[in-house]
């Protein structure tokens, strides 16, 4: 039985007066890939944003319930007062549905999170950049074009860059919101292989519409309908 790294207890999420998530309880094991499935508008992406509290960035939102995550070897209720959101989001990385490299060079996309986390040593920055680009199988493709605008990369490369950017701060949890939905088959295969290799180092929670993909990569599947949990199963 693997250790549970994320425990969600009776989580409800409100946008102004409407309830988007309704009393969700679920838990996810360390070093696994958990897939969240459900129809469009069922609240899958919202569930992800409650786990790094990115939902706080939207005005008019409110959360009840608890989300406990094992971070720095301590189980922390991320909704308790005094939690530093930048710290939380460095520990719980996120990759969005549409690749969203920042409009700057490939290298700066990767060093920006490091600078913002206070890691200013250029040697250390460069080592981390090289490592995450190798981890995401991008190094060979971009090592000679690190000064180029990240938006000149192909869709698959951009998404791998975004994953690399999320990984550069060595998060303990990585949230992925339909990371392959805007990519072609070849790029999807690249990303899936990457995800399988990543679960050695962190826990992945992925929203997906593609049931075949879920079958290929996920260890746990959680189904949401109309904001409520309707099923959860471990594949093994």
């Amino acid at each position: 039985m693997q250790e549970k790294i994320i425990e969600i207890e009776k989580l409800s999420f409100y946008y102004e007066e409407s309830r988007v998530l309704n009393q969700i309880s679920a838990s996810f094991s360390r070093n696994s890939i958990a897939a969240v499935i459900g129809a469009s508008g069922s609240g899958k992406s919202t569930l992800l944003t409650t786990i790094n509290r990115l939902c706080d960035e939207v005005a008019g939102t409110r959360v009840t319930g608890r989300v406990k995550i094992m971070l720095d070897r301590q189980k922390i209720d991320i909704y308790q007062p005094g939690i530093s959101l930048p710290w939380l989001r460095r520990k719980v990385g996120m990759v969005f549905q549409i690749p969203n490299p920042l409009p700057m060079s490939i290298y700066k996309n990767l060093t920006l999170p490091l600078k913002m986390a206070g890691i200013k040593n250029r040697g250390l920055q460069h080592d981390r950049v090289e490592r995450v680009l190798k981890d995401t199988f991008l190094w060979a493709e971009v090592k000679d074009r690190l000064r180029e605008d990240a938006r000149t990369l192909s869709g698959g490369q951009q998404q791998r860059l975004c994953i690399a950017r999320a990984l550069i701060l060595e998060p303990e949890v990585l949230l992925l919101d339909e990371p392959t939905s805007s990519l072609d088959e070849c790029a999807v295969a690249e990303i899936e292989n990457l995800l399988l290799s990543l679960k050695e180092s962190c826990t992945l929670l992925m929203v997906s519409h593609d049931l075949a993909q879920v079958e290929r990569v996920a260890d746990t599947v959680v189904e949401i309908a109309d904001g409520a949990l309707v099923g959860s199963k471990d594949k093994v």
């Binding site: 930048p86 920042l102 409009p103």
Partner: protein, 298 residues
């Protein structure tokens, strides 16, 4: 019918564009026609020879004749106004775009719009009144470069605030969300992500502000410019400036040569503005490259 409207709109907008470009070319052409023949070192430095001119440029010699003191005065004015207004304008623009909300934002926006609509002569009058008021406590203080620079800063401040605010507000929210998801503090999002992306818009405001500060006559007439003050030695001296020189020459000329000097001064002002715009553009390009694309290998 729709095709007819499409064509008419195309025709109307094209003609408007053409008219404006034509007006700009006519204006510059007229200035060149009237002023080009007088352009030369004599217009700028009077009757000085080359070695004396070099001394003047390197502050070793005082010059009264020619446009040089007015050129230096104009440069000082633009520099003072911009260096005072830029941090304030950037700060207020950031506040309005990224922090203020609801009634505060509406109130601030109304105030800045009002300030933008204040005629420059009123700002000049305010500067003059301020000098009179301060004169009670600092008897040595009179209309001078410092007062003019501060009054011009007040004049250009709304441009800088509004262009900074607009440049930031036009950036997609996805940038803010992406940066937040990377663990950025709000201040880091603004400094490291939003401001570098907003640079083109902010620099448009700076260019507008430079133009406004360089050309305004009403403000400086009431706050310290005089016809033949020479180069100011301190912020508390009177000074000369090109727009005032042009105004003074055009209204007081006694012969055709003096009027031509006015046109020459207008051409020089135009060239100075173009140089300042180009400089601002180069700084923007360099800053964008440095902030967003270049890095040093360890």
């Amino acid at each position: 019918m729709t095709r007819f409207y499409n064509f008419m709109l195309y025709l109307f907008s094209g003609l408007c564009g053409l008219l404006l470009v034509g007006s700009a070319f006519t204006l510059v052409g007229f200035l060149l026609w009237q002023g080009a023949s007088i352009m030369g070192l004599k217009l700028i430095f009077g009757t000085l020879d080359m070695s004396e001119i070099i001394d003047v440029i390197f502050w070793q010699r005082i010059v009264i004749d020619g446009l040089w003191p007015a050129m230096v005065g104009t440069f000082f004015l633009v520099f003072m106004a911009l260096s005072t207004a830029l941090p304030l304008g950037l700060g207020a623009g950031i506040y309005l775009a990224e922090y203020a909300g609801g009634r505060t934002k509406t109130f601030f926006s109304i105030v800045f719009d009002l300030l933008a609509g204040v005629p420059s002569i009123v700002i000049g009058l305010f500067g003059f009144s301020l000098t009179l008021y301060l004169h009670r406590y600092f008897p040595g203080l009179r209309p001078c470069l410092l007062i003019s620079g501060l009054a011009l800063a007040l004049l250009i401040l709304p441009y800088l605030v509004r262009t900074t605010q607009t440049a930031l507000e036009e950036l997609p929210d996805s940038l803010r969300l992406t940066a937040a998801a990377l663990g950025a503090e709000k201040s880091a999002v603004i400094i490291s992500v939003l401001l570098p992306q907003a640079l083109p818009g902010i620099f448009s405001g700076i260019v507008l502000a430079i133009g406004r500060a360089a050309e305004d006559t009403a403000v400086i007439m009431l706050t310290g410019v005089v016809a033949s003050a020479g180069i100011p030695r301190s912020l508390f001296d009177n000074y000369e400036a090109l727009p005032f020189y042009i105004y003074y020459t055009a209204s007081q000329f006694s012969d055709q040569y003096e009027l031509q000097q006015g046109f020459g001064a207008a051409l020089v002002l135009l060239v100075i503005c173009i140089l300042l715009f180009t400089g601002a553009g180069l700084i923007r390009k360099k800053a964008t490259l440095r902030l967003l694309y270049q890095h040093r290998h360890p």
